[in-house]
């Protein structure tokens, strides 16, 4: 198989995963909620108007039909029946465009307009946290792996284990107590508002720290395991016996081999960072994607939940594809076979 075919297969399989997953999301959400039109019309609406709307939106159609229609709306092939039914009224909203996840009942605007800014904010936080996690995790993992069994390995591993055991909300609360209340060196809320004199970067410190503390241990553990496995391999022994310096053995011979598995793991943290950070965003009042998802879920804003879930799926699947491709690039054997 050549690389393009291989990549195409991978993307195709990712798309298939997306489809199945989106179907599951659709089924779960559309069926768990008591009544879609009741959701749209609000709790005080009358039964007859709900039924009329249901008919108008085709909510009584077979599941698969509704699902396909929904997908059609999402990819911009169809018009959103909620918009065309005139329920939203002015301001006029486009009924047909790519990425049309519908209209958020909670925010009273098209879902994309809600999600995109939140996603942007989260991307900012996620980027900072990602680099922190990757760098710290790799550093500790490499040191521990290279000096397996040493005192430094044991103590750093313990630190990583303990850090990974502290829930985000716990570290967030503690950090807040120390840095916001006691020493007042950092802002307590990270709403990205700079008028109060706290810079955006100062507001990112605490949430990013919470995420890094929670996650770096996991990365470090993976890197360490991979590193120890490599360090035990015959070719590392051979390299040492060839008379190479330990540093050269670690950096030239071990690292490249040891980073293959963790590379995937590290990349997959992106998926977690985009959507798995609800708690942190809630604690710091960060206007991000996780909070949107939580609020949408809690308020039963189906269109928004569907969009958020789907977007987090896309992110995860994209990182999976990226990590697969990266794995191919990192691994000459795979590269050659491709």
């Amino acid at each position: 198989m050549n690389p393009t075919v291989r990549l195409a297969t991978r993307v195709g399989s990712a798309l298939a995963t997306m489809l199945v997953a989106s179907f599951l999301v659709f089924v779960l959400l559309e069926y768990s909620s008591t009544n879609v039109s009741a959701k749209i019309l609000g709790p005080y609406s009358s039964e007859s108007s709900r039924q009329m709307l249901s008919e108008k939106l085709g909510l009584n159609d077979p599941l698969l039909v509704r699902y396909l229609r929904w997908i059609g709306v999402v990819v911009g092939l169809r018009e959103d029946p909620v918009v065309t039914s005139g329920l939203i009224g002015s301001p006029v909203v486009d009924a047909r465009y790519f990425g049309n996840f519908g209209y958020s009942q909670l925010y009273k605007k098209p879902v994309v307009e809600v999600v995109l800014p939140a996603l942007e904010n989260t991307a900012l936080l996620a980027t900072v946290a990602f680099f922190g996690i990757a760098l710290l995790g790799m550093l500790i993992g490499i040191v521990c792996g290279a000096y397996e069994g040493s005192a430094i390995d044991r103590s750093l591993s313990l630190v990583a284990s303990v850090a990974a055991s502290v829930p985000e909300y716990a570290s967030a609360v503690i950090l807040m107590f120390v840095f916001v209340v006691t020493y007042q060196v950092l802002p307590g809320a990270s709403n990205l508002d700079t008028t109060s004199g706290w810079s955006v970067s100062s507001q990112l410190i605490l949430p990013a720290a919470v995420l890094i503390i929670y996650d770096f241990g996991y990365v470090a553990r993976t890197v360490r395991t991979s590193m120890t496995n490599v360090m035990r391999s015959p070719y590392i022994k051979a390299a040492i016996l060839k008379g190479l310096s330990f540093r050269r053995v670690v950096f030239v011979h071990a690292l490249k081999n040891a980073m293959v598995t963790p590379f995937t793991v590290i990349l997959l943290q992106i998926g977690w960072l985009v959507s798995g950070v609800v708690v942190t965003e809630v604690v710091f009042g960060y206007p991000g994607f996780g909070r949107v998802l939580l609020e949408a879920s809690l308020s039963g804003d189906i269109a928004l939940v569907e969009a958020c879930t789907l977007i987090s799926l896309v992110v995860v699947i994209l990182t999976q594809v990226a990590s697969d491709v990266g794995y191919m690039v990192l691994n000459p054997e795979m590269r050659a076979r491709a």
């Binding site: 391999s233 070719y235 060839k242 008379g243 190479l244 030239v252 490249k256 293959v260 000459p332 050659a336």
Partner: protein, 691 residues
């Protein structure tokens, strides 16, 4: 350059694992030295401490090993306690090592060139010199296309090529001492022969000292001028190769020789004597001679109580030293025992137990061939098996011999052909419990043959319940104990997990399991190839014993021609899924030789001039029905006919072979072929007559 002539000086070296009372001595009081240009062989069973010794020379002891006393000097420099930079320098310039698994010692993610340059950089100065050196060294290990090799990743090279790279890497710095730790164990027989040949050549052409470590006595003998025999951490005998190979003085050296498989003369089969003591889990500590509990000559008083010293056997041969109270000095040239082979032609036998008829197994797989064509793992294989007889299948890795075993046992279904067992045709899948009970198998890898998560007894009892009519717990248990005893194991081992057993013990359990019912046929798929020779011999003895007792037919799958010669009655030589040569063992080994048989025998007998493969294009697929399967690699290829026309079946005595060459023009083994391969003295010439 140093003027010190001794490149390695080991003095009274003692190395132990662990600390305090739990410390286990892996190497005890070992002294030896190697002059430059000299090759010393170290042999011994696994766990005898030879690798630990080698690592101490490299000053790279791991796993909690420590030098308790003694010293190691390389080129006069004591390696122990060397500062790390000095140590690195020593490793880079003076030492080189080829490891147990040479394939794995290349970094899979760095190009060969980079890995070679890295080593060269440590030793050589200028860039031009470096490149020239690399080029030269690669040529010296017979790697031609250096440019391609240098830009390759390890996985892009064949096993033999990687091996050469590793050797080249070791040679690059022109070290004073080269350590080889089982450098050929992971290779196919024919490749093995080439590599050993290469090593011997390098040794003779350089001033390098060499420490060659192996469990394979004849192999070592081929390269080294002196051999040390190690047993449980001690050097029990050391002396010139001739002496060790022909007149060893230590009972252990002698026993090692006795259990080393060899191809006996026509009409005879080697009698292999095992020196394994299988029934005990761990040997007790012995005050006296460490070999005493396995020694047939041991005497209660001195051997058990007094530790023997390594001493010169006599004044005439100060080089030959032995650690034994009662070294064997008389009858020095007692010949290794052979038994008379009393073969009967299959034709004279009653109805066959199993008939395989035109078995074919296709793997329709792109992954294997790449061109979408089916790979024929087995192609039209037919044979008969008889009660009480052993049919051996010989082939190199990838020849389809394991597929054949799987077809016979029913783990795989033939694409074509069928198997008839006890007169009735077996269904392609879903065999009856009766057939399952009558046909069992012993596998190759002792590590995998037993379920590591279940005790020996649990597995054995399960097999008994499944393969016999016994159901009552006490009867099953009794049967299990009987079986344990039958394979010469202490029934107490039934409570153990496989991880607590030695390889030989595991293999015995596997045999016990195979004999849980009353199998008419047992398939042994490389059942002894992963074992030490001493253990291998006793397992073979055990199998023979069980076979004699129960009249079991054995399908013996092996790559080792010597073992097959000693063990089997009939033999089939398989190449790429096709039987190229088959018949009675003697008639195949001594009769007109199929070129492939010839090459295998040549390798097995370790001729001076191994027959090389004609083409190195290993990946050319064989298209079924066109020509001889071996044609592409055949050193005696006649011409296009071999490639295009399927060779005719030719019969020679009780053997059949497929070759275009006329019988009388095929090679033969000399009738008085000596059983052992020759040491590296130039006098020994191959008696394999090449056309």
């Amino acid at each position: 350059m140093d003027i010190v002539s001794s490149v390695l000086e080991v003095e009274a070296l003692t190395i132990a694992y662990g600390k305090g009372r739990r410390a286990i001595e892996a190497v005890s009081e070992v002294s030896l030295s190697i002059e430059s240009g000299e090759a010393l062989g170290l042999v011994g069973e696994s766990g005898c401490g030879k690798s630990t010794l080698a690592m101490s020379v490299m000053s790279h002891l791991t796993g909690g090993a420590r030098i308790l006393s003694g010293s190691v000097q390389v080129c006069g420099i004591p390696v122990n306690g060397l500062r790390s930079s000095a140590l690195r320098d020593l490793r880079a310039r003076k030492l080189a090592m080829i490891h147990q698994d040479p394939m794995a010692s290349l970094n899979p993610r760095l190009r060969i060139g980079r890995q070679l340059r890295e080593v060269a950089t440590l030793a050589v100065l200028s860039r031009e010199e470096r490149e020239a050196r690399i080029e030269h060294t690669l040529r010296s290990v017979r790697l031609a296309d250096t440019h391609r090799v240098l830009s390759s990743y390890p996985f892009e090279l064949s096993g033999g090529q990687k091996q050469r790279i590793v050797i080249a890497m070791a040679l690059l710095a022109r070290p004073a001492l080269m350590l080889l730790d089982e450098p050929t164990t992971a290779l196919d027989v024919s490749v093995q022969a080439e590599i050993v040949d290469l090593i011997a050549e390098i040794r003779s052409s350089s001033q390098m000292g060499m420490l060659f470590i192996s469990h394979d006595l004849p192999l070592v003998a081929q390269v080294c001028s002196r051999i040390g025999v190690m047993y449980k951490g001690e050097l029990v005998e050391i002396g010139p190769t001739d002496q060790i190979m022909n007149e060893p003085s230590h009972p252990y050296s002698r026993a090692l020789l006795a259990c080393t498989p060899r191809i006996a003369a026509r009409g005879q089969r080697a009698l292999l004597t095992g020196i394994d003591i299988p029934s005990k889990v761990r040997e007790p500590r012995i005050e006296g001679c460490r070999f005493a509990d396995r020694c047939s000559n041991a005497r209660a008083d001195s051997c058990l109580e007094e530790h023997p010293q390594l001493r010169a056997l006599n004044n005439l041969q100060p080089d030959d030293r032995v650690r034994c109270h009662f070294p064997i000095t008389e009858q020095a040239d007692v010949p290794l025992q052979d038994a008379v082979r009393n073969d009967t032609a299959p034709a004279a036998l009653p109805a066959p137990l199993l008939e395989a008829d035109h078995l074919t197994r296709l793997f329709p797989h792109r992954a294997v061939s790449g061109n979408g064509q089916a790979v024929r793992a087995n192609d039209d294989i037919s044979f008969h098996m008889y009660r009480g007889r052993t049919l051996a299948v010989i082939g190199e890795s990838g020849s389809g011999k394991s597929t054949l075993a799987r077809l016979v046992i029913g783990l795989d279904q033939p694409s074509d052909g069928y198997i008839r067992f006890e007169g009735s045709k077996l269904p392609p899948s879903g065999r009856s419990d009766k057939v399952a009970s009558a046909m069992q198998m012993v596998f190759q890898n002792p590590g995998g043959t037993l379920n590591p998560a279940r005790t020996v007894g649990t597995g054995l009892r399960r097999a008994i319940r499944k393969l016999t009519n016994l159901k009552a717990a006490s009867a099953v248990d009794q049967r299990a104990r009987d079986l344990m005893l039958a394979v010469q194991l202490d029934p107490a081992l039934m409570d153990r997990y496989p991880a607590e057993l030695s390889g030989g013990q595991k293999q015995r359990v596997a045999i016990a399991r195979a004999f849980a019912g009353s199998p008419a046929l047992v398939i042994a798929d490389e059942a002894v190839s992963a074992l030490d020779v001493s253990v291998q011999a006793s397992i073979l003895q055990l199998l023979k014993h069980l076979q004699a007792q129960r009249g079991t037919a054995i399908l013996f799958i092996s790559h080792d021609l010597a073992v097959v010669h000693a063990f089997a009655d009939d033999v089939m030589i398989v190449y790429r899924g096709k039987v190229v040569h088959s018949g009675l063992v003697d008639d195949v080994y001594h009769g007109p030789l199929h070129p492939y048989t010839e090459r295998l025998l040549n390798a097995a007998l370790r001729s001076e001039r191994p027959i090389l493969e004609t083409t190195s294009d290993e990946n050319t697929p064989v298209t079924a029905g066109h020509g001889c399967v071996y044609a592409q690699k055949c050193h005696r290829r006649l011409g296009d006919i071999c490639l295009t026309v399927e060779p005719p079946e030719r019969r020679a005595a009780e053997a059949t072979l497929r070759c275009h060459i006329l019988l009388e023009q095929l090679g033969r083994l000399s009738p008085r072929q000596r059983v052992m391969p020759q040491a590296c003295n130039p006098g020994g010439t191959s008696q394999l007559a090449a056309q």
